[in-house]
Amino acid sequence: MNVLTGVPRPASVLTAVTRPTSGSRRHTYVGPCVVLVILIILYVVRTPDALSSISILTLVNDSAVVALAAMGEAIVLVVGGFDLSVGAVLSLINVVLATHFAIAGQGTVAPVLVGLVIGLFAGLINGLLVSVGRIASVVVTIGTSFVFSGVALLVQPTAGGIVSQSFINQLTGSIGGVIPDAAVIMAVIAVGWTWVRRTRFGAVVYAVGNDSDAAVTAGLRVAAVRVGAYGLAGLCYGAAAIFLTAQTGSGDPNVGGPLTLSVFAAAVVGGVRLGGGQGYVPAAIAGAFILSLIGDVLFSFGVSSFYTNVYTGAVLIAAVLISSTRFLPALRAVRNAINRWRKVAV
């Protein structure tokens, strides 16, 4: 059963063992990439200086937090779960770094390691509760998001704190003034996932997402793989939170709350299917850039930024409709109806 749709899936060993990499075969990332290219063209045409290194750096840095976290959310979605704790994990790591590790005199290595470790730890807690505790992922992540937010509030009750300038410069700058550091971090994770997906572990992640009953029946180590997937997602949140801390330059126990929606939307717009088993995780980067570019492009056409939320919601619905398998039949039905109407009209 799928908590998101309530649709039972046929349990079949064959599904699990014969289609372990259906995510790569379905090419779910093509659509988002086409949309992204169109948006980039519109953005470059409409915005002066769009290709200057400073505007590129700003655009990449503004989208990086959501893009990095969305890859984590995408991994959870692929394994058949759903993670509402992203925002709380980001807040927790942000305040821990801003109060203890990313301050002057601590260097850059320590905060990065601590951020990744907390992220990994948070992900493993979610994964253990889901697989060993056998609770639905929505419930687990709502529960842990309360806990993580509470701990974040204990660490730092109000926004504030100053992150060391060298930490900020090392993460938000660009290599040789051309390639943003954030782009490098995203590329590393994207390449890393592409490798993981080719391993035995990666294949089982997709198999579990496709049909966990079948994966159990096939003798796959479902529980361990699920914990591992949530742990990898936690590492992505860690990377996102490290970058968030550098980007905002301070700590805020509520910083992550509003990001949960954007992160989830970016993963879904990136073509990762809800319910699991399908989707190319790095496409979430495309999803994040689509969401931020749509705002810029519409703004350049004179649409008030007040409408940001309205089109974010519309894009989310449209993305899911287009990526769902029911979209093409629906489109065909509409086309047939129009054809019939034309014949009548003529």
Partner: protein, 332 residues
């Protein structure tokens, strides 16, 4: 965890609506007892309060959450999830205050329009979930975001107007024996809500659809119709919660419903309703609401918010394990 073990654990004595009834009832009673225990602790630590006054404030502070959580309960029971509660509440409150001008006619019109808006949003959610076959999470999340944008554009960020005086006194006045009049609203929603779930055809169809939509369809239930109706009820409840919150606060403002979403899901889970649908009911959710409200009573001090959230989270996870360990598996 093997498949065979799983199937053995899933076949126990079952209620007609599913769920292992004895343990389920015990756990629901346990949630109420936990809420009561927290009230007792509060009375013992604050000698200036009396037990009855603590109970009255617990009930009156739970009204808005209880109404919102009813909508969440029915939608979770049918196998969905409603993430649009915050902005349906805000939209309803804004419509109410913008329409009402102090005359009886405008007050009534405001309430009717606000409830109508909630109903409409609920129906749209239901249509999205059934006819467009969107996952409930996506449909309601997108709806919430769209409403947020719409209310921002419509009010320019600062809603104006006033809340009808009758509603304000309903939510804030005290009646016989110091009992807040808002407790009647709580009693009303509990009686009507439980009767709807347990004693009507729609309730039966809801449980049927929630436990197994395919079986429900083969039994001649219109799954689409039932689902749309249930989402409509959910929208109506969110709108009512928004109206009550506006009456409680004496005004409407953007984001006023934000803090009601996660607690509504938490109350449903703590009350023992399975997130895959078909099992549970409002009896448990109401206990969950009272429990979550009463946690705030015993916590005080500068970090009480932080500790409250940690306890909330722990309660959600522990009750999920207690209620659903064998039945509510991770969806595949």
């Amino acid at each position: 965890m093997t498949a065979i073990e799983t199937s053995e654990r899933r076949t126990g004595p079952r209620h007609y609506f599913g769920g292992r009834v004895g343990r389920q009832r015990q756990a629901v009673v346990g949630v109420y007892l936990a809420a009561l225990a927290l009230c007792v602790v509060d009375v013992l630590t604050n000698p200036s309060t009396t037990f009855i006054s603590v109970i009255w404030s617990l009930l009156s502070l739970s009204v808005v959450s209880a109404v919102a959580a009813y909508g969440q309960t029915v939608i979770v029971l049918i196998g969905g999830l409603d993430l649009s509660i915050p902005y349906v509440m805000t939209v309803a409150a804004v419509i109410l205050t913008e329409t009402s001008h102090g005359t009886a006619a405008s007050d009534v019109l405001g309430v009717v329009l606000a409830l109508g808006a909630g109903l409409l949003v609920g129906i749209l959610n239901g249509v999205g979930v059934t006819l467009l076959k969107l996952p409930a999470v996506v449909m309601t999340l997108a709806m919430n975001v769209i409403l947020e944008g719409a209310v921002l554009v419509a009010t320019n960020g600062t809603p104006t107007g006033q809340v009808p005086g009758g509603l304000v006194s309903l939510m804030t006045a005290r009646g016989i024996g110091g009992m807040p009049t808002s407790v009647w609203v709580l009693v009303g929603i509990a009686v009507i809500g439980i009767a709807l779930l347990r004693g009507t055809v729609l309730g039966r169809r809801l449980y049927g659809t929630g436990s197994n939509s395919l079986a429900a369809r083969y039994s001649g239930i219109s799954v689409t119709g039932t689902t749309i109706r249930v989402y409509a009820i959910g929208g109506l409840c969110s709108a009512l919660a928004g109206i009550l919150l506006a009456a409680f606060a004496g005004q409407s403002y953007l984001g006023m419903g934000d803090s009601y979403l996660l607690p509504s899901i938490a109350a449903v889970v703590i009350g023992g309703t399975a997130v895959i649908g078909g099992r549970g009911g409002y009896e448990g959710t109401l206990g969950g609401v009272l429990f979550l409200t009463s946690i705030g009573f015993v916590l005080s001090g500068p970090s009480s918010d932080a500790i409250k959230m940690i306890v909330f989270g722990g309660a959600i996870i522990i009750s999920a394990i207690l209620f659903n360990r064998a039945t509510d598996r991770e969806p595949s």
